[in-house]
């Protein structure tokens, strides 16, 4: 029986080039006709040269994760073949450049050797067309209508007729070539629903969410894997009436975001670990002076410079606890690309509503992978404006008024006549410096009280969904981009007859305590899988909820696969 849910991996040296673009093009073409896709990409640390790889899972049904291993491996060179051969699933397909790769005999897989480079050079006389040639071969072998690819090539080279011509020729050459191949595998894309969806990366979705939420100021300093948020904001914000600044460093970036927000704009910065660490002092200022800001931290593998192109969920401690003194901040973690949009809008909602810094923790896999997502219905995500001192007599205006919610009206220079001084010194309700014990107690309580009120906004099913068995023995609590793999693992375990459930909060501080407690109380044991060494979320849950969860940690720069989590579930429930 043909399988239309399969995983293609493409690997090769970036000096040859085209690994990522070949994958991207195939993905886009498939998505345009209604297939769901889920990609992953990883770059070498070298500037040029070194192995990159791209993986896409394609299906006519929704897909939630990268899956396990790969079903189809396309090896551009020998090193790629050697690096990935072990990941090829049984019954999988190896496609390789027969001029460059010498695969070992292996009866468990199907092999198609094609002399890609040779054909491009000798038959097409167009070496740069190798990638498109490969695309044609992929289309032919796995049933993607060449028309969809042709359309893409056309739009890409629409201003360079000659190149367009040559590429289309290469595409068809590859497609026709497959007629000479005896197809021995069972992977075949049937038909999809032809519904228009979006193919976005996490960074794209976060940016789109921010623009929708009303972000009109962005400042950032380039850093992998957050740079493309800066780049998109630089090109798009002026079209939305906003401003983007490439700052001289990350301190300047967050400082200017604080200034912009003080002056009335919804404002954001995006960075990765090293830059996030540099923002520590100013994060405290934003919290103390109660200035709403959003900080995206696209986590990468740390510490220090670490592995800049690899993923890790290693900045949670810094997000939750970084900075001197006691101050509140809100920490969010989107669980998928689709979810990035919503969580980005939520970040601005909470920042503006509670006048507090909000940290959105993404990671390298989420930043750069694409998913097909449903078109966002922006009406579902209303925007939020901050509380202003409307109507108050300026003489009576208390910028840091102690209120039931802890939130005080914030005047905007130029718009409100309620002048005040925002300050990082301890201060009274008017904002005047005051170093008395009582003031410090009251004001600290006021600032932290906002977290308690915010908790009520987020302690709900939508932002803390539960999945799986009602009467579970094992409860998995995950965060961030691991959601898809956990979900598939839970499905497989349920199919095994195991009683397992999962909860995946989007808000990590304040915790949705009642949902979590209910969940914890409903299961025998709690397992917290995360891509870091110390078990940072498990630590936070332990301290906050008084539990002692099982920890399941993976580091090394690759995401959890559903299979790894499934095995862990089995280990805990079956073999324990």
């Amino acid at each position: 029986m043909a399988r239309d849910d399969f995983i293609i991996r493409i690997g090769g040296d970036t000096a040859i080039g085209g690994v990522i673009s070949t994958g991207d093009n195939f993905t886009t073409a498939a998505a345009r006709i209604g297939f769901r896709t889920f990609t992953f990409r990883t770059y070498p640390s070298e500037i040029k040269g070194g192995q990159a790889w791209f993986q896409v899972r394609i299906s006519s049904k929704p897909v939630y994760s990268l899956g396990d291993g790969c079903d189809i491996l396309i090896a551009f060179d020998q090193e790629a073949y050697e690096l990935h051969r072990a990941s090829l699933n049984e019954g999988g397909v190896l496609i390789y450049d027969s001029g460059l790769v010498e695969p070992d005999p292996d009866g468990n897989i199907v092999r198609y050797g094609v002399p890609f480079q040779k054909i491009a050079r000798e038959e097409l006389e167009f070496v740069r067309g190798t990638n498109v040639l490969i695309l044609g071969v992929m289309a032919g072998l796995f049933g993607l209508p060449p028309a969809s690819l042709e359309e893409m090539v056309k739009s890409r080279y629409k201003r360079r007729a000659e190149l367009m011509e040559k590429n289309i020729q290469a595409l068809h050459h590859g497609y026709e070539y497959t007629k000479k191949i005896q197809k021995e595998d069972r992977f075949w894309l049937g038909t999809a629903d032809h519904k228009a969806r979006l193919v976005m990366t996490g960074n794209d979705a976060i940016t789109a969410g921010a623009l929708h939420a009303g972000c009109r100021y962005f400042a950032g300093y380039p850093i992998t894997p957050a740079s493309d948020i800066l780049e998109t904001m630089a090109s798009q914000l002026p079209r939305f009436g906003g401003v983007c600044l490439q700052a001289e460093d990350e301190m300047a970036a967050i400082a200017s975001v604080i200034g912009a927000s003080y002056a009335g704009a919804k404002a954001m910065t995006a960075t990765s670990g090293p830059g996030f660490s540099l923002m520590t002092e100013l994060l405290g200022l934003a919290s103390m002076a109660e200035i709403p800001i959003v900080i995206v931290d696209a986590q990468r593998s740390g510490p220090s410079t670490g592995m800049p192109t690899k993923l890790e969920q290693g900045d949670l401690f810094q997000a939750l606890y970084g900075g001197h003194g006691d101050f509140p901040r809100i920490v969010l973690a989107p669980a998928s690309v689709q979810n990035c949009f919503r969580v980005s809008v939520l970040a601005f909602r909470l920042a503006e509503k509670y006048q507090i810094p909000v940290i959105l923790l993404s990671d390298q896999s989420l930043s750069h992978r694409t998913e097909t997502i449903e078109r966002v219905d922006t009406d579902v995500y209303p925007t939020t404006e901050r509380l202003r001192p409307n109507g108050t007599n300026p003489e009576d205006y208390l910028r840091y008024q102690i209120t039931d919610s802890g939130v005080s009206p914030m005047a905007i220079p130029g718009l409100d006549i309620h002048t005040y001084v925002a300050t990082g010194l301890e201060h009274d309700e008017r904002g005047h410096p005051r170093l008395s014990p009582q003031t410090h107690e009251e004001m600290t309580a006021k600032r932290f009280h906002k977290l308690e009120v915010a908790r009520l906004d987020i302690d709900n099913e939508e932002l803390c969904p539960r999945y799986g068995a009602e009467d579970a023995d094992l409860g998995i609590i995950g965060w961030g981009a691991t959601q898809g793999s956990i979900r598939e693992a839970v499905d497989r375990a349920l199919a095994d007859g195991l009683k397992v459930a999962a909860m995946h909060p989007r808000v990590l501080n304040p915790l949705p305590e009642s949902r979590l407690r209910e969940f914890i109380n409903s299961v025998d044991r709690v397992l917290v899988p995360e891509v870091n060494y110390q078990g940072q979320f498990a630590h936070h849950l332990a301290a906050s909820l008084g539990i002692t969860p099982l920890r399941f940690n993976k580091i090394g720069g690759l995401p959890f696969t559903p299979g790894e989590i499934h095995s862990k579930i089995q280990e805990v429930l079956v073999h324990a």
Partner: protein
């Protein structure tokens, strides 16, 4: 630019006098501190320009001099040590109609904040940066600062400073500032005039103010004696002359060293907005389909 409706403005006094720019708070500086003179010049400059209090923001870092916002009835932000220029840059970009003053010390702007200064100048952010130079760290009680002279003995340099002092006027000129001047706190009227010009200048205006620390490093006698006006017939549009003088003088010339017109950052970025097709989110996400 910020969303939100402009609140009906309360009737201001017809003419704003110095009194109106004062907050109720009494400055907490030591008697004789130069910063009093700078503060009073600032009040006077705002009054001279009749700026609405709610359209002015005074941003500062940390230090004695950085306490200034509390003594003003305008908007203010008293932030952290050294980051005032980028904070002010964000303010101006987000809300370009505001008049923004950055006020701080030699430590705040030239030591911990030294990395932001050349960039704010190069970008020509439209704001007025008033640096109150007392050649010491006042608030932390008398350590050496980047403008302390070589050999200066302080608590942190008991055997004398070994670094060459930074020359703020030269630093500003070399960084591309479009308005560079020097004042003296003990000449508040001249200083008022410089601040007025700085605010009127459409770009990054840097005013280096000799503002002695009466408590820890009293230099009144020295400056009273040495301070002088720029040479007669000074051409404020001659960058080379300004640089050459700044390179050799002893930080004693008062007046406008240099002025130039160059599009300010906030103007330039608004230009992008005008030149490019406006989007809404629906149009924008189109590109991902």
């Amino acid at each position: 630019m910020p969303d939100g409706t402009k609140v009906a403005q309360a009737p201001e006094a017809d003419v704003l006098t110095v009194k109106e720019y004062k907050s109720g708070d009494k400055p907490i500086w030591c008697p004789g501190c130069g910063d009093f003179g700078v503060l009073s010049a600032t009040y006077k400059a705002l009054a001279a320009l009749q700026l609405q209090r709610h359209e002015v923001v005074v941003a500062s870092g940390i230090g004695c001099s950085s306490r200034t916002p509390y003594f003003m009835s305008t908007f203010g932000l008293h932030g952290v040590h050294g980051r005032t220029l980028p904070i002010a840059t964000g303010m101006k970009l987000a809300n370009p109609d505001l008049t923004i003053l950055v006020m701080g010390g030699d430590g705040d702007l030239m030591s911990i904040g030294a990395g932001h200064f050349p960039h704010a100048a190069a970008r020509n952010v439209d704001l007025t940066c008033i640096m109150m130079d007392n050649q010491t760290y006042g608030l932390t009680k008398a350590q050496a600062s980047p403008t302390s002279l070589m050999g200066h003995k302080s608590k942190s340099t008991p055997y004398g400073v070994v670094a060459k002092p930074m020359l703020p006027v030269l630093f500003a000129l070399a960084s591309g500032a479009t308005f560079v001047a020097r004042g003296y706190s003990a000449k508040p009227n001249d200083l008022t005039d410089l601040i007025v010009q700085g605010i009127e200048h459409p770009g990054f205006a840097f005013i280096h103010v000799q503002s002695p620390c009466a408590e820890f490093f009293n230099t009144y006698d020295y400056y009273d004696e040495h301070i002088k006006d720029l040479p007669p017939g000074w051409d404020r549009h001659d960058l080379k002359a300004a640089v050459d003088l700044a390179l050799t003088e002893e930080n004693v010339h008062l007046g406008v060293f240099y002025q130039e017109e160059r599009p300010s950052l906030s103007k330039a970025v608004r230009q992008f907005e005008a030149e490019h097709k406006q989007f809404d989110l629906v149009e924008y996400v189109q590109r991902f389909s």
